[in-house]
């Protein structure tokens, strides 16, 4: 019997790590992975609340979050590839000119 707050704290820690990664990392792919980490933290809190209130919709909503995350990863990585073709760099600090 684990208190529900433990699951929520774990979800919060994962979300916080995701935000910190988004702020301090300079490689665009790692920034994307921090976004995925945030989404995973949110998924955990969905499932935890579903278990607490005995409402299966929480688990169903996790599917929608996963689909949106997959679609976003796909398009985001395609954009990264397109940007890499012209700028030749994956460092966000060096993509600072509107025109090459």
């Amino acid at each position: 019997m684990v208190p529900i707050s433990y699951y929520l704290i774990l979800s919060g820690i994962l979300f916080a790590c995701g935000v910190i990664g988004f702020l301090i990392k300079r490689n665009i792919i790692t920034i994307f992975m921090s976004i995925e980490l945030m989404l995973n933290g949110v998924n955990l809190s969905f499932v935890a609340f579903a278990a607490q209130w005995h409402h299966l919709s929480g688990q169903v909503f996790v599917f929608f979050v996963m689909v949106v995350a997959a679609a976003e990863a796909t398009v985001g990585l395609a954009i990264i590839i397109a940007v890499f073709r012209t700028r030749e760099t994956l460092n966000v600090d060096q993509v600072n000119l509107l025109k090459l």
Binding site: P3, G12, G18, I24, R26, V60, L77, A78, I81
Partner: protein, 172 residues
Amino acid sequence: MLHLVLFLVFGAICVAGAINLLAQSHPISSALSLVVVMASLAVEYLLLGAEFVAAVQVIVYAGAVMVLFVFVIMLLNAGEEERTKGSHVALILGVPGVLAGGLLVAWVLIERSGTQTVALGALPGFPKAIGNLLFHEFLLPFEVTSILVLIAIMGAVVLASSPETKAPGKES
């Protein structure tokens, strides 16, 4: 007791993977630590009884989305990260801010939720029940997400195609 031990073990693996993602400088190591986080999250879902969600987490997230990330890292030959300027402001303001916000939320949660506990496998998420819900109450979001996936596929194909092969009609 077993529930608490398993939760703590896999929770520790999750947090260690998340911190490793931040600490590593090579993106491939970050990607693999994220896979470890997702796998241990799948075990946490199993502890809450969400078996179908756990399986889909491994199949879709760890097995497809992260493979896509690993592909792109391999394809673009991403090397180790360089330390550049511009990251200091975010480091000084952002990290303590996030930690303070996180601690505040955690304190409020512990105060409010009291001693409510969940048992091992609290809400069994059988595929049949989830399928029923998905196709009856959540039918509209389901169809909308299928259109979203179609748009994402088209977007990815267009964005990632090389400029020479784009529009054959615009040659001259």
